[in-house]
Symmetry: C2
Subunit: 260 residues, 2 copies
């Protein structure tokens, strides 16, 4: 049998969810009902959470998330979490395929922010965590751009320019727009020596459960070591890893038990 779950902890988080939901302050009985708990149990749990500083009881019918919760997340951010969650997987990709692997997100300026990487021996890509590079010319960037809203994408394409970094760089807004549509269609991007000569790269999206692209995962290799024929297999592998990352990040097991 799988490891049994501590039910009290799940209930405590159900209550915390209620408090974090839009309505700022809720009463104990209403939270109890929403979480399928008896009033007595909800009270005990809230009293415990309050003693721990995770919840503050500010008055009748008023509970709120406490300072302790803020302290616990003070050193965390989506980026650092993504980095630590993906590092082991990046290492495995490098080990099994010989590629340099990257994870990146798109910032508000439409630049690609590199979150983490695992380099192979022949790595030539000058990425360090936190560095920002142009989006239009890399596999990661194109995957991330492909999921922009139509408006945002049009703005990006109109803003240009897209200077050529190699002979194969996509440099016209029209061609880039077609490329992004193709990427949305097949759910992965290929950078065929568009950023560096002789460097091929495959990138796939990392998805939020709601379908949004929240990050991208890529594997790069010298074009002498990654033939076009091998690309599809690499895509399959990366897609699996991307799904694993998504699962790891968003796993959420707390179906509120409906009381009789």
């Amino acid at each position: 049998m799988a490891t049994p779950e501590i039910k009290s902890v799940g209930k405590a988080f159900a209550l915390l969810d209620c408090l974090a939901a839009e309505d700022d302050c809720v009463s104990l009985p209403s939270m109890a009902k929403r979480c399928g708990l008896s009033v007595a149990t909800a009270h005990r749990l809230l009293a415990t959470l309050e003693a721990l500083g995770a919840v503050v009881h500010t008055g009748p019918g008023q509970y709120a998330i406490g300072l302790r919760m803020l302290d616990l997340t003070r050193r965390s951010s989506f980026e650092t979490l993504l980095a630590s969650a993906t590092m082991p997987i990046l290492s495995r990709i490098t080990r099994t395929t010989g590629s340099t692997a990257h994870v990146a997100v798109l910032d508000s300026e439409r630049m690609v922010t590199y979150i983490a990487r695992s380099a192979n021996r022949a790595n030539r890509i000058p990425t360090t965590p936190g560095i920002k590079l142009e989006a239009y010319c890399s596999g990661l960037g194109k995957v991330l751009l492909a999921d922009l809203s139509t408006d945002d994408r049009d703005t990006y394409l109109a803003d240009g320019p897209f200077p050529p970094l190699t002979a194969r760089t996509i440099i016209t807004p029209e061609a880039l727009d077609r490329e992004l549509a193709a990427i949305r269609d097949r759910r992965f991007a290929v950078d065929d020596c568009e950023m560096f000569d002789n460097l091929r790269c495959v990138a796939v999206p990392i998805l939020h459960p709601d379908g949004r692209v929240i990050a991208a995962l890529s594997a790069s290799q010298d074009s002498t070591e990654l033939s076009r024929a091998q690309i599809q297999e690499l895509v399959t592998q990366l897609t699996g890893h991307a799904a694993a990352i998504s699962t790891k990040l968003f796993r959420r097991g707390s179906a509120p038990r409906a009381a009789h």
Copy 2:
């Protein structure tokens, strides 16, 4: 007997504390030891937290705070928490003393940011939540300035100027420095019609358990209704309320049980 605490929840938070502590990733056995838990128990709790998304197991010896924790605190901030925790107390102050009551913090520009207020009927003070006013001329501001480090205080005093808002406003850096020293000494500030004519105000610090001043609490009244003789009694009341707020915010009951 007082409400019994759900022990599992306390243990879960002890583990979360380990993860939030400086060292980013720790192994299960080391966390178990640090929290005084058996390996089996720690494992069960971590598995539960992982299923809830509160913790991510990124690899052997690597656990980290999960996305769920970020989601729970997304809508919270110290300021909103302070506001909801103090509102009921501000109301009570207004009810029992007839004063207008305020809570405020100092921002990075040394301006007083008003967090919450409860106005009496004759209120003339134009404060709304989030508004920022000068610090040198109010009770709240002076309490907050008094706790600046010597360097920061000197910088503030040197930066000036301090334009007079009434005939009693403290306008020279020397006098303000002396006033702040006196406030540190007696642990409360009085604004004797320094900001508005005929408006007296008493302010006390709200303290972090480590002694730092993190916010201030004030009560203001028309000088015809608050004689200088009544000030000391008001201070006593406010001090009690400030201590109650501090307790409410920082309560922390999770002594890790030392295993035999």
